[in-house]
């Protein structure tokens, strides 16, 4: 088994996309509420919205009092304020003291409680931008990672419930099968690439090609996303709390794309449509499960034109337009 050096090179802090939907934006949502006027709409979530200990030394730091008032962050922070204040941390490992293979083995050997509802809690310290960290863990535990990670963190994981108090690099949760990954900070490009299940929640912003080649699962980004989101995706759900860059959506897919802000442009073959009641309920539940508070009615969906036409054709029989 190859060894990964313990003090791996720090990753560059991910650069959040700075899209401001310009004049070419497809639609503008009237009546933006207070949530929409916060950092998640119109411009990128400021890097200041991140915990100071989670950022590389040269990354902009966060005023922690500012974000604690935000409901979404509050939901994320409910059970993760401070390691010392939590009595139920059962295992603690340091990425500075263990090789990556040793760390994964240690996590896999954490005994389960037998109660599916109550997963063992594991605290991971010493995250300093390591690449390819904590991949292919298939063990039902709750991991909390303090610090930022580099590229390809949590690839091909299953069952594990993860929270990261920091940023992540490119390709986070690539090929994830099940479980969940929640990122308190920002993510680089290609977040959730080829994931087949589970939930990836990013509470900051994400870069280009988020959800690329997705085949299932849910990707939730509270802030903005970059260009080509959903490129090559086949199935799953993508929820964007802020704005999107160019070429949003994929005309040949069953991906459900929901957006609260504006998209700089849509991929040819897709269009925007309002949510139906059933979808509002579904999205509301998804938002709750992802720990993102928000009203589903604020969102619109990006749907292939052909699929929308098929939906309307089928719907016409149930709800005739003469009514």
């Amino acid at each position: 088994m190859p060894h990964v050096p313990k003090p791996s090179q720090p990753a560059q802090p991910p650069t959040p996309p700075q899209h401001t939907a310009g004049e070419s934006a497809q639609t503008v949502t009237p009546g933006a509420d207070s949530r929409a006027s916060d950092a998640s709409r119109g411009q990128a979530v400021p890097l200041e919205a991140l915990p100071s200990e989670a950022l590389p030394d040269d990354a902009p730091q966060l005023d922690s009092t500012h974000d604690s008032t935000h409901d979404s962050m509050a939901a994320f922070d409910q059970e993760s304020v401070d390691t010392a204040s939590l009595p139920d941390i059962e295992h603690e490992f340091s990425m500075q003291e263990l090789f990556d293979a040793e760390l994964r083995q240690a996590i896999r050997s954490v005994p389960l409680k037998g109660d599916e509802e109550k997963l063992p809690r594991v605290e991971i310290q010493g995250a300093e931008g390591q690449h390819a960290a904590l991949m292919r863990i298939d063990h039902p535990v709750k991991l909390r990672v303090r610090g930022s990670l580099g590229d390809y963190a949590f690839a091909y994981n299953a069952q594990t419930v993860i929270k990261v108090f920091g940023n992540v690099g490119h390709g986070v949760a690539e090929g994830m099968c099940s479980g969940s990954v929640r990122i308190r900070g920002h993510a680089g490009h290609g977040a959730g690439t080829a994931m087949t299940g589970g939930t990836l929640g990013i509470y900051g912003s994400a870069g280009d090609r988020a959800g690329g080649a997705m085949r299932g699962g849910g990707l939730f980004v509270r802030g903005n996303v970059g260009d080509d989101v959903g490129l090559g995706a086949l199935a799953g759900t993508i929820v964007i709390g802020g704005d999107a860059g160019k070429n949003l959506g994929n005309p040949l897919s069953n991906v459900a794309v929901f957006i609260r802000g504006k998209a700089a442009s849509l991929t040819p073959g897709v269009t925007e449509a309002p949510l139906r009641k059933k979808q509002e309920v579904q999205l509301g539940l998804l938002l709750i499960s992802a720990g993102i508070r928000g009203d589903a009615t604020d969102f619109r969906r990006i749907v292939p034109i052909a699929k929308l036409a098929a939906e309307n054709a089928a719907r016409g029989e149930v709800v005739p337009n003469w009514r």
Partner: protein, 343 residues
């Protein structure tokens, strides 16, 4: 004697052994029923040919697969505690990773990172509906992409540059600790493509030269040039695997003498696949043809494989290209004082 078996070393020092310099690069698994595909893959791999396949190419998720299972141990040797052995397999890691599952990393010997799109047999840069349904287990009422062709990815969505691709390859080395990580490229614009691929520091290169317009002499020139370029980039010791079109066993030996480290034998396997397509019974209860697949594979391939081994045994391992291509035995030439042939 020129070594037929080789041990390749990864950039992190781990080593991977290959018994033959032959591999089946792009098998048409989708043309065969799952069960037949799985049997054929294992049968060819049993001949020590490295076979390229995803698990979902050759078996359903819940079914066992000969290609992915440990090789059964003789009962006489069952008392010895030995590491389980697996058939030689390579894993295509396509840009969009359709059909890929985490088990594809297990026990594979090569991760083939395909940085560019490849055409399907119909010439499209896309995957057929049948292919997508096999990979993604789509329900009948909800086919992938609405039941049409799905475009292939031109570049991985989670790689931002060729320099950063080095991190991706390091990631794959961690995920597949038993495998060397290769990057595969096309042979057009060879200078630019090889220079770009080597930036990511793969353990080796696979160059696709199987386009129909490439003839024998062009193929030889391309292999020579590819090896020269790798030398120029201080990667001369890295393996160069070549995917040619129609080749004979003599051609394979020549390509290796010219600088290739392994050669794809897809052209030899095409008649085998055709035979299976024509001879497979339609009844699922008729197992005779199915049980004969290993014998048929051996019958179709072994003579050529053995001829390659024979030709390679005559190549001077440390000689120049001209010496390696020579049709003489260097020791005899030297003993007889034929200095022109044995300098």
């Amino acid at each position: 004697m020129f070594p037929v078996a080789k041990t390749l070393t990864r950039s992190d020092g781990a080593s991977v052994r290959f018994e033959l310099p032959l591999f089946w690069y792009d098998p048409p698994w989708i043309q065969l029923p799952l069960e037949v595909a799985g049997r054929l893959a294992a049968s060819v791999a049993n001949l020590d040919v490295v076979v390229s396949a995803l698990r979902r190419d050759v078996t359903a998720d819940e079914d066992p697969s000969e290609l992915f299972a440990p090789i059964p141990v003789d009962e006489s040797a069952a008392g010895n505690e030995t590491e389980p052995q697996f058939l030689p397999r390579m894993t295509p890691y396509r840009a969009e990773r359709y059909g890929f599952s985490p088990v594809d990393f297990d026990q594979t010997r090569v991760i083939d990172v395909r940085l560019s799109a490849t055409r399907d047999p119909s010439g499209r840069l896309a995957y057929s509906p049948d292919q997508m349904n096999r990979w993604e287990n789509a329900a009948d009422h909800s086919p992938i992409g609405g039941g049409g062709y799905v475009a292939t990815g031109a570049f991985p969505t989670d790689v931002v540059s060729l320099k950063q691709a080095q991190t991706k390859l390091d990631q794959l080395r961690l995920l597949a600790p038993t495998a060397v990580v290769f990057v595969s490229i096309d042979c057009y614009r060879l200078e630019e493509e090889i220079a770009a691929a080597l930036i990511a520091q793969p353990d080796g290169l696979i160059v696709r030269m199987n386009q129909p317009e490439i003839e024998g002499l062009q193929l030889a020139a391309l292999v020579t040039r590819a090896r020269q370029l790798m030398d120029e980039h201080q990667c001369g010791e890295k393996p160069l695997w070549v995917v040619p079109g129609e080749v004979s066993s003599r051609d394979v030996a020549k390509l290796i003498a010219l600088g290739a480290s392994a050669v794809a034998i897809d052209a030899w396997c095409t008649p085998l696949v055709q035979f299976l397509l024509e001879s497979m019974p339609t009844s699922r209860y008729d197992r005779s043809a199915f049980n004969q697949i290993p014998a048929v594979a051996s019958q179709y391939l072994w003579d050529d494989i053995d001829r390659v081994i024979g030709h390679l045994s005559t190549i001077m391992p440390q000689g120049t290209t001209a010496q390696r291509l020579g049709t003489y035995h260097s020791r005899w030439a030297k003993a007889c004082g034929v200095s022109l042939l044995a300098p």
